[in-house]
């Protein structure tokens, strides 16, 4: 079945939309794309909903004729800016896939170095290397949809594909991870003496980390109207140092605008 072509597939009589999709990556671990291939049990159903026309990591001979571009990674070099703009021009819908694309991800930690040359010197010595401070996709082009997470939750990506196909709107939880954590009947990490950003981080991962008795690092960025002040108070009350709090808040870049010292913009 060709892209765009809906064939005979319908949902309750409404024809499905089968978009031509492309996957692209910038500075990242490419894990978010892999998550899609990691979805073995439903991969075939997924592929029946979208027509993958460009996926460098998995296919040769990609096409430049696509409607939806899933873009992974953050922007750290001039050639990436150009490539991204070109993708934006071609794509009807540009989706930021994963925390690197949405917030800069762990990569933006390098922006802690006020002078990027210091970071370069630390890794490459005097050898010249081209790299700029990390920017998010949104810093450069318009982003239509953001899929959060490091890595993204494959079920969420699938749900999005499904919603595009049947024409349902895509909504993410507005509330924090704690709600899902309770649904999963976990013992609160604070109770166990571990720090956790669950109270301020956007839910949707099904409290992935707390389910493993590991505190949340906020990879999905802030929930709607997070109570940052209280969060910090709680961390202090439970005896976690300023540094531990910062480590978590700055890890994926989602909270940078809420930390009082924005470091991605």
């Amino acid at each position: 079945m060709e892209a765009g072509e809906t064939g005979t597939r319908t949902y309750l009589g409404v024809p499905l939309y089968r978009p031509r999709v492309a996957f692209f990556e910038f500075s990242s671990c490419e894990g978010c794309q892999l998550q899609i291939l990691n979805n073995e049990s439903t991969l075939l159903d997924f592929l029946s909903l979208v027509d993958v026309v460009n996926f460098r990591e998995a296919m040769t001979g990609g096409s430049d004729d696509y409607e939806i571009a899933f873009v992974e990674g953050s922007i750290t070099r001039d050639d990436e800016v150009k490539r991204l703009k070109k993708i934006r021009k071609k794509a009807k819908t540009l989706v930021a896939l994963g925390s690197c694309a949405c917030f800069g991800g762990v990569n933006q930690l390098k922006n802690r170095f006020k002078d990027i040359n210091k970071a370069k010197k630390e890794v490459y010595g005097r050898h010249p290397i081209d790299s700029e401070p990390v920017r998010t996709l949104e810093d450069i082009v318009k982003v239509d949809l953001k899929i959060y997470g490091c890595p993204v939750k494959k079920e969420e990506v699938e749900k999005i594909a499904l919603h595009i196909a049947i024409g349902k709107s895509i909504v993410f939880p507005k509330y924090p991870v704690c709600m899902e954590c309770k649904r999963n009947e976990n013992i609160c990490l604070f109770e166990l003496g571990e720090p956790c950003l669950g109270p301020v981080t956007r839910a949707g991962c099904d409290s992935w980390c707390p389910n493993s008795r590991a505190g949340c690092w906020g990879c999905r960025g802030p929930a709607d109207e997070p109570n940052m002040e209280q969060m910090k108070k709680i961390m202090e009350e439970y005896g976690f140092s300023e540094e531990t709090i910062m480590d978590r808040l700055e890890c994926f870049g989602g909270f940078s605008s809420l930390m009082g010292k924005g470091n991605t913009k």
Binding site: C32, V106, K120, S131, S212, A214, D247
Partner: protein
């Protein structure tokens, strides 16, 4: 037959990360053969500077989406080595099992999703779903099992959540674990069938004498820690990794390159197998011999076969590990961690070869210096030399552009490069 060829692959597909291949042949004479690594660096070594020890595994795991488990375990080992923590038997077994399943997952992904299309004359695995559905489903089944075990032990198949310095935040559910035993036994057959299919393919017959570097097992096939050896006779301890890698910068790559006794060396499944053939599980050994893979084999394309052999090895070993774990009474999952000043190095065999993490800590357990040497980074120079070799050989044979392009791409792909990882 004098021919003029121009190969320009930009970027290479069906590999992780961005790399370009350029080959120029004029009148049958090789003018240029170049492996360019253009991936953007992410500066992990700088990022970690000044961060506390507990950030290291969590952040460095993000170096690579395919072998995040390997990175996490290497990072954990480096921190543990620095702090003098020795993991107990239970932790050691769980980590190996976790690593094995990552290896199985990664090798299957490479062989069946990335390499297979080359032999089936398609651009990707997607068309194969229709034409060779059984193979694709089989591969998906193997991969799913491997990933499911990773979920169960590591909390998550990618960027694991339960693996921490000192052990695990949480132990797997024994009931769930026991379920995997049968599934592992079941997929042995699937692997055999994949092997049958691969037997039908004719691998390019190209060999170039190469130095192979890997860990050396003491009494088993090595995966985590131990001495490093090379097929040229070098042997070193983990802490001496710098002397084993000799990283240097080159203009054609944003990744650092490595060398040892010669201009380049190779790491990966083939290197491991060449150096540790005696420790392979009998079933794996049998399969290797079936493919004529006897050490020391210098055909880089054989790395694909070595991966297949390792799949059998890890599956067989995992079945045993699960039995042992089920028979033992689970103990406390996590040791206490006391940070202290010092340097810790870890050498871990990840799917694509030997991976080193090294950290230097101050008194408060903050990272003063961080260094990661990635397998693909160690392979780049060897890829370059192989590329030259293969181009030269085929220039003489008068292959056309398309043939050469495919061969060059297949050569690089055989290394299963993880380019963004190598640049990190």
């Amino acid at each position: 037959m004098k021919k003029t060829c121009n190969v320009n692959i930009k970027p290479l597909t069906r590999v992780e990360g961005h790399g370009n291949i350029r080959i120029k042949i004029k009148n049958g004479k090789l003018q240029e053969a170049k492996w360019e690594v253009v991936e953007t660096p992410r500066f992990f070594e700088a990022i970690l500077k000044g961060k506390k020890w507990d950030n290291a595994p969590w952040i460095t795991g993000r170096i690579c989406g395919i072998c995040s488990i390997g990175h996490t375990l290497a990072s954990i080992r480096a921190v543990e080595n620095a702090f003098g923590i020795v993991p107990d038997e239970q932790t050691r077994k769980l980590r190996i099992l976790l690593k094995h399943m990552e290896t199985l997952q990664s090798h299957t992904l490479h062989l069946c999703f990335l390499v297979l299309p080359d032999f089936m004359n398609t651009g990707s695995v997607f068309p194969l779903i229709k034409t060779h559905g059984d193979v694709v489903l089989r591969a998906a089944k193997i991969k799913k099992l491997a990933n499911d075990v990773c979920d169960c032990i590591g909390g998550r198949r990618m960027h694991p959540t339960r693996t921490v310095v000192g052990g695990f935040t949480m132990l797997p559910d024994k009931e769930e674990l026991s379920g995997f035993s049968d599934r592992l036994k079941d997929i042995t057959l699937d692997l055999m069938l994949v092997a049958e299919l691969v037997k039908g393919f004719s691998l390019p017959d190209f060999s170039r004498e190469t130095e192979f570097v890997s860990l050396k097992g003491v009494d088993d096939y090595p995966f985590i820690g131990g001495d490093m050896v090379s097929s040229d006779g070098v042997r070193m301890r983990e802490e001496e990794y710098k002397k084993m890698t000799n990283e240097y910068m080159t203009d054609q790559s944003t990744s650092k390159w490595c060398r040892l006794s010669r201009d380049s060396f190779a790491v990966g499944a083939l290197a491991r197998l060449n150096n540790n053939f005696e420790f392979l599980h009998p079933a794996a050994k049998e399969m290797a011999e079936g493919f004529g893979l006897i050490p020391v084999n210098h055909n880089p394309f054989m790395n694909n076969i070595a991966q297949l052999v390792e799949c059998i090895h890890v599956v067989k070993e995992s079945i045993g590990l699960i039995d042992e774990l089920l028979d033992s009474e689970f103990k406390e999952s996590r040791q206490e961690v006391k940070a202290k000043r010092g340097i810790g190095v870890a050498a871990v065999e990840v799917p694509r070869g030997i991976l080193y993490h090294s950290y230097e800590f101050d008194d408060n357990g903050k990272i003063v210096k961080c260094d990661c040497v990635i397998p693909t980074g160690q392979n780049h120079a060897n890829i370059q030399h192989d590329l030259e070799g293969i181009a030269e050989e085929y220039a003489a044979q008068g292959k056309n552009d398309r043939e050469l392009e495919l061969l060059a791409a297949m050569l690089v792909r055989a290394y299963d490069p993880c380019i963004s990882c190598s640049v990190h």
